[in-house]
Homo-oligomer: 343 residues x 2
């Protein structure tokens, strides 16, 4: 098996820096747009045949070092009775804003809602047959709470911060509940064969460090602690969260993902070298074409240096308008880096 | 005159911490919504009678220590031939993305486009008759470039980062051009009577520190340098930009505005006490009601301590859904802080 990615997550030596790309199965791929012309986003997520197809599409084109299961961080909220649509962003039927709303949440077993995701992981493992590892994922508890309270994506997610100010105790209970759900989400995927997992705490960066430590971080720790026994590498990714990095690095994850705002060298320094680092090529550099991508990739690799424990990735999900040629240039640059390292 | 705000900007002693509120003339005020029912956003900006009315509305209700002229950071782009609408966010008729686009920009005198804003400042000074100072403002060059390249608001503004990767030299020229325009925008308002100015670099935080230093910061310095002779306090505000704060503090402004993610005490430490600090109460705390606001205001004042050079403000624009009672509680808490300080 190509275990370059798993080795880098564990800070073990590798022949070259592994690469995968957040949202590698996405709108920048014509074959994904075709798939989505036939089925809406939630249908693809919930239909293992289609989700496996989406997950495999980028691996047919590019020599990536990991596959990630096609799903969405909000899917597990179905277990709490939350209904939502995507057009294209998520929109919840009813936001959850008060203590009463939180106490009224349903408590269905996560497996009822996530059986499809587990099946996708199983099929993906079979299809890949060891060619690359499969990554499972969940949303960070705070990020799930941000969507639940706001009801949709919104700059700064003010409603979740309002809940923190209005009723800190209810907020804490919500986060604890979501930590359990996130842990179940990962457990199911690991049991189905996921060989690594990533916690996407996409909006943690809207908190200041004190609130992050008091509310969001304990919930992340609970998730990581719950799955530690499984022994698969855990990646924690919070973009636009440089001010939280030193705290985030104490969550128990093996890898900290950083966005393009935090250089890899700085991330290493600020986490004391205790964890591996994933990232952080600016996804916007890919909009600028192959030459710009090669220069940006070289800059990231040079900044990361030769110490073990670096997983190449973008600093955020790949953008829908990204040219295929840019992704090819990036993946080729990574293959070329092996020769460079060997020379 | 109530010069508490101007004194705090200059780090001079004050009887109590002054307060004004970003977007204090805005949708949370029923009288503003009434005004907007009669005239669209750009019409209010461009009609001095209406803009003065909007600017004065919050001062009739609350004992604020400064007025800010009602306008928009994108208004000056008319001098470059940029056309736009607001519904409610800005949408440009044609984004500016290439070197050719940049070279084709018009070069009308800013005064042609901004005469209405200068007139608003003059009328506002007359109406206020020394009761509070008047703040003029402009957008930071990078932030203006972000809207020009993207064509609308968008998370992370990828197109401006793509331009930086595609054609750094054209990007630099665009920023230099926008720095001249921003400086003219402030000059006009100062000449008309603005007693302080704020540079809103609302999206600078999407850059990493290296690109900020190489591109955005020199353009901000050019703006500040151009108006230095006028001797009015200059405030520089970049939210979600804690990673840029030490650099931003070297731009020449008297005051650094920080969002709720960066505590005032930390901002003071990281700027070496060289400048005053403005901020940073979480606007979401106001959604949570008067009790939450009082607690949050006390926390900000305690964190800021007794050293001179603090202007109270929110950490971002006030949210449209903010209850009036929350703003009253905040402004009353500031008045009460004088008694606390005197005791």
């Amino acid at each position: 098996m190509n275990d370059r990615f798993l080795r880098a997550c564990r800070c073990e030596p590798v022949d070259r820096t592994p690469i995968w790309i957040m949202r590698q199965a996405g709108r920048y791929l014509p074959e994904y747009r075709e798939l989505r012309a036939r089925a809406d986003f939630l249908t693809v997520c919930r239909t293992p045949d289609l989700a496996v197809e989406a997950s495999l599409q980028p691996l047919r084109r590019f020599a990536l070092d990991a596959a990630i299961v096609f799903s969405d961080i909000l899917l597990p909220l179905g277990a709490l009775g939350i209904e939502m649509t995507f057009d294209p962003g998520p929109r919840l039927a009813r936001p959850v804003r008060t203590r009463a709303d939180i106490e009224a949440l349903a408590g269905r077993p996560a497996a009822e809602v996530l059986g499809c995701v587990a099946e996708t992981v199983r099929m993906l493992r079979r299809e890949l047959d060891g060619r690359t590892p499969v990554i499972g994922f969940c949303g960070g508890p705070f990020t799930l709470a941000a969507y639940m309270t706001q009801g949709e994506g919104r700059d700064g997610f003010p409603e979740v911060r309002a809940l923190r100010h209005r009723d800190p105790e209810a907020f804490r209970r919500l986060l604890d509940r979501l930590a359990s759900l996130a842990a179940e989400t990962l457990e199911l995927q690991i049991a189905a064969g996921a060989q690594a997992v990533q916690i996407f705490d996409s909006w943690a960066g809207v908190l200041d460090a004190a609130d992050y430590r008091a509310f969001a971080l304990p919930a992340v720790r609970k998730v990581v602690h719950a799955i530690r026994h499984a022994g698969v590498p855990v990646i924690y990714f919070a973009p636009a969260a440089g001010h939280l990095l030193a705290d985030a690095a104490t969550c128990g994850a093996d890898v900290q993902g950083v966005c393009w705002r935090t250089p890899i060298s700085e991330a290493r320094r600020r986490t004391g070298g205790a964890v591996a680092i994933q990232g952080n090529l600016d996804p916007a550099a890919l909009l600028a074409g192959p030459d710009a991508v090669r220069a940006a990739a070289r800059a990231v690799l040079d900044d990361a240096g030769d110490a073990p424990g670096h997983v190449m990735n973008l600093g955020h999900g790949i953008l829908p308008g990204t040219p295929i040629a840019s992704v090819e240039a990036l993946v080729e640059a990574m293959a070329g880096s092996a020769a460079r390292r060997a020379s």
